[in-house]
């Protein structure tokens, strides 16, 4: 019965991929997104049941190559991530229904519809993969289909650059994964995922490092994060939501799958993961504060949240290595729950951002403002997303972080004092990231939706069509429900951790709110039936009207924080004056440049890229086009091979 649900979902997604390519019409595209919607409903039922019962399932293997089986399997961990996919997809598919129609060419529309379905299918199969080969195959399909989606508008120079960046990074990630999986295969002799009980933990160092790097690149951990802020703005909004909400989590899933299979992870792994996570969380949000492109800002905030998830994973490894299973479970639950929650609110925010961009035609925050008047529903949904991501109770962003805080606060249970100190340092970084995220979303929501419109486009913005509203309402509803019922959800999933009941909190908050509101309303009715609340101008220091240019801007809002974290941004001011004379006394002309040093790009990415460039230039001299030299190469290669086999074997 359960299997039927999955097969149904596969069939729906597959036909969703093929239909628009075969029939090439608007109806086929509609059907395609409809099918992905249906598949997600099927998957919701499937994953929910598995999570509730805790019984895994292994699907019958299909042998497609001698010695290699096509196996799919599912357990609680993968069911959790299937649930995540299924929760994000409905919103995205309804949304894309409308959004895709704005693509330039007919073929482009068909391709977008088909690729979106393929992308979802590939992610689903990665999560359900039963062995390494299946995992890698669908990992590649997932990467390539998303790459094509990033390149959907390939005419613009910016998108081409984004696509290329993404292409290089994702292949680098796959290369590391290959290396990691091959070394695992050599250790165990089996391609199954999760058979590491018999392996000596010391031998796992290499696979751990490779997999951490590989999955870290894909998840966007600092310092491998640079592709994210390029790729997300380039992709269509629905796809950005999928990439940020789901694909990054698939990388998290892969990493968890490996870690959970290791019987006794080592302490320094945890410290490494925790450090990587904390750095990502901090850098992500600090860079986001400076950003004024709405989608790029959200991409940086994804890096922050991935950091939080990795903090949870790091804590899990540390507590596990120190023999504290209860706290380890709490951190792991926190990490997974945050992954789930982030998928929900980040896809919500990306969809809202998509609507705002759609309505105003720009991605620049400085041009927004006052949208709460012209796009009330979108703004309300945007507010829900912001409250969630700023981790305010009782929305769901708070629920996952609460678990992590609880685990942190009990760090005194560790035996090693130095480790406790490390955890306290990580805790303060975590808290700082959380508070900066709150500041970030006050800025984003406040500047985008409140006050007066800052540009003509923003003043004339209109509410987006209804399908686009419904789609964003789906994750928004999930956000609130997952937060308020978090305790109940966790206990349904069989995770019994110490956790306060947010339902009670939410009810109390709501009822006090209602009581206060009614009390004041009753008083108002009582004393001034004839006088409604007065509307009057904002005080503008005596100026007759308040101009939008007088409002606080996005850059102005984050200025104090930019000042405080000056050393991290490394803003450089360069004066290049030119003089008439040698004594530099007669000024001729010159220029001054204020530039943000892109630290990671300039120190980490460019040097190896240059090195590779120069090496390949040298190698390309070998290609001289003469037949006899190619024969010589082949001859030399054969000789080397013969000698090598002689020496090695």
């Amino acid at each position: 019965m359960l299997e039927a649900l999955v097969y149904g979902a596969f069939a729906a997604l597959f036909s969703g991929t093929v239909l628009p390519l075969l029939y090439r019409s608007k109806n086929a595209r509609k059907a395609s997104f409809g099918l992905s919607f249906i598949s997600s409903v099927l998957l919701l039922g499937f994953a929910g049941t598995i999570l509730y019962t805790g019984k895994g399932a292994l699907f019958p293997a299909i042998s497609f190559l001698p010695g290699l089986d096509f196996t799919l399997g599912v357990d609680r961990l993968s069911a959790g991530f299937v649930l995540l996919i299924a929760a994000v997809v409905p919103g995205v598919s309804i949304y894309s229904l409308e959004y895709t129609e704005h693509a330039k060419s007919e073929a482009g529309k068909d391709l977008q519809a088909a690729l979106t379905n393929l992308f979802i299918l590939a992610m689903l199969l990665v999560v359900l993969a039963g062995n390494m080969v299946v995992f890698l195959i669908f990992w590649e399909i997932m990467s390539l289909s998303s790459l094509l989606l990033v390149l959907h508008d390939y005419s613009s120079e910016e998108n081409k650059k984004a696509g290329f960046f993404y292409f290089v990074m994702t292949n680098l990630s796959t290369a590391f994964l290959f290396l990691g999986f091959i070394s695992l295969f050599r250790l165990t002799g089996s391609a199954e995922l999760g058979q590491l009980e018999s392996v000596d933990p010391g031998a796992l160092t290499l696979p751990f490092l490779c997999l951490f790097t590989g999955f870290g690149i894909k998840a966007g951990l600092v310092p491998f994060h640079k592709w994210l802020p390029y790729a997300h703005p380039a992709a269509p909004s629905g796809v950005s939501a999928l990439m940020s909400g789901v694909m990054l989590k698939v990388a998290v899933y892969g990493f968890l799958r490996f870690l959970l299979a290791v019987p006794s992870p080592e302490l320094w792994w945890g410290i490494l993961v925790l450090t990587g996570g904390s750095l990502s969380a901090l850098f992500g949000v600090i860079y986001a504060l400076k950003e004024s492109d709405i989608k790029r800002l959200l991409a940086y905030s994804s890096i922050e949240n991935i950091g939080i998830i990795f903090i949870g994973i790091g804590l899990y490894v540390i507590f596990e290595a120190e023999g504290l299973p209860a706290l380890a479970l709490m951190s792991l639950t926190g990490a997974c729950f945050h992954a789930f929650n982030h998928a929900l609110f980040k896809s919500l925010l990306f969809l809202c951002a998509g609507s705002v961009v759609h309505a105003t035609g720009t991605r620049n925050i400085e041009a927004f403002g006052g949208l709460v008047k012209s796009m009330p529903v979108t703004s309300a949904l945007f507010l829900i997303g912001s409250v969630s991501i700023a981790a305010l109770p009782p929305a769901n962003g708070f629920a996952g972080e609460l678990l992590l805080y609880q685990a942190f606060f009990q760090a005194s249970a560790l035996n090693d004092p130095l480790l406790t100190v490390l955890l306290v340092i990580a805790l303060s970084g975590f808290a700082l990231a959380g508070a900066l995220a709150a500041a970030l979303f006050v800025k984003l929501f406040g500047i985008t939706c409140l006050a007066l419109p800052r540009s003509e486009e923003s003043r004339l913005a209109e509410e987006v069509p209804r399908p686009m509203l419904i789609r964003a309402a789906v994750p928004a509803a999930f956000c609130i429900l997952a937060g308020i019922f978090s305790k109940q959800l966790l206990s349904l999933a069989g995770l019994d951790v110490e956790y306060p009941d947010l339902l009670l909190l939410g009810l109390l908050l709501g009822s006090i709110y209602a009581a206060l509101f009614l009390a004041v309303r009753a008083k108002e009715d009582h004393e001034m039936e004839k006088r409604p609340a007065r509307i009057s101008e904002t005080w503008g220091c005596g100026a007759p009207t308040l101009a939008p240019s007088m409002e606080y801007s996005s850059a102005g809002f984050s200025e104090p924080l930019v000042m405080i974290f000056k050393s991290i941004y490394r803003t450089r001011i360069m004066h290049r004056p030119k003089y008439f004379d040698g004594q530099e006394s007669l000024f001729k002309n010159g220029n001054v440049e204020i530039r943000l040093l892109r630290f990671f790009e300039e120190y980490l990415y460019i040097p190896p890229a240059r090195a590779i460039d120069s090496i390949s230039k040298r190698i390309s001299r070998l290609q001289n086009g003469k037949l006899d030299s190619y024969v010589l190469y082949a001859f030399l290669a054969v000789i080397t091979l013969i000698i090598a086999t002689g020496v090695l074997v």
């Binding site: 005194s412 004092p417 700082l432 406040g446 409140l450 709110y513 609340a533």
Partner: protein
């Protein structure tokens, strides 16, 4: 709050308003009409109620007169901290809502400073949790209740951090000046500048409530004498009286503290916060290595 004002006035050689002036102000505001700016939205109408609701829920977390049995997750430190964050988030949105440059400035400054104080706050409460071995404020103070001196000498160190946090969170000198309406110096006042009438009354009330709660945490940490652990009528009266006394004393201290300091430059503040951070971190270090 009123007492602080009185002490400040006395210290400055003025007579100062009566202790109940704050309540008169609230009553006056409640009877006034509410005025909204045409640029403002639902945020401005929603925030006052939400803030007061959040702080009322918060008040269930801090035992002021007696310590109840912890139930239903109430008293969780982290939830407490984030309810305060909820209040701050919406106040800051309110500041941006009317489109006034003052409001924007207030929210920007408030959120920036809040971001910098947040690690200190979390670490200070983590230090409390370390020393008192619980995540629950009720359980923590059940442990301290009844003793005359602080349970552990390290609590004195945490109290210094908590005092600084109290100053920062309630917007007092040297961080913010609650008495000013000069554009360069206001932070919290700037955000509520466009609020009026009943809404302003609610916001003022929640601000006062926040101060009371943070004072409660500080008092229970450093001077828990008189705090009763059971809901017995006689004991409650005693502990309520003793709380009033202690809170009064604390208010005098804050008033004198404020009068003796000048407002700091905005960008000098992180250094001031570091001091609080240092004391909390020191507590944790001592607890860990001892």
């Amino acid at each position: 709050m009123a007492l602080i004002r009185k002490v400040k006035a006395q210290a400055q050689g003025r007579k100062g308003p009566g202790i109940f002036q704050a309540y008169y102000d609230l009553r006056k505001l409640i009877h006034k009409e509410t005025i909204y700016s045409p640029a403002s939205s639902g945020i401005m109408r929603l925030t006052p109620y939400l803030n007061l609701a959040a702080l009322l829920v918060c008040s269930l977390f801090v035992p002021l007169v007696f310590v109840p049995e912890p139930a239903g997750g109430f008293g969780n430190v982290i939830v407490f901290l984030y309810l305060l964050a909820l209040e701050r988030f919406f106040t800051a949105l309110c500041g941006l809502d009317a489109g006034s440059a003052f409001g924007g400035m207030g929210s920007s400054r408030s959120m920036s400073l809040a971001a910098v104080i947040e690690p200190t706050m979390v670490v200070a409460f983590a230090a409390l949790a370390f020393v008192l071995k619980s995540l629950n404020l009720h359980e923590m103070f059940a442990l301290t209740a009844g003793s005359i001196l602080p349970v552990s000498p390290t609590l004195v160190l945490v109290s210094i951090s908590l005092f600084i946090i109290l100053i920062v969170e309630t917007g007092r000198l040297p961080v913010d000046n609650p008495a000013t309406h000069l554009e360069l110096t206001m932070i919290n006042e700037a955000m509520v500048l466009e609020q009026s009438g009943k809404n302003l009354a609610l916001l003022e009330l929640s601000h006062a409530l926040k101060q009371l709660l943070l004072m409660g945490v500080l008092i229970n940490t450093i001077l828990p004498v008189g705090l009763s652990t059971e809901a017995d009528a006689g004991k409650i009266v005693i502990s309520a009286l003793s709380f009033l006394l202690k809170a009064g004393a604390l208010a005098v201290v804050i008033g004198l503290f404020e009068s003796s300091l000048a407002k700091m430059r905005l960008f000098r503040l992180p250094a001031f916060y570091m001091m609080a951070f240092f004391f909390s971190a020191l507590t944790i270090l001592i607890e860990v290595f001892a």
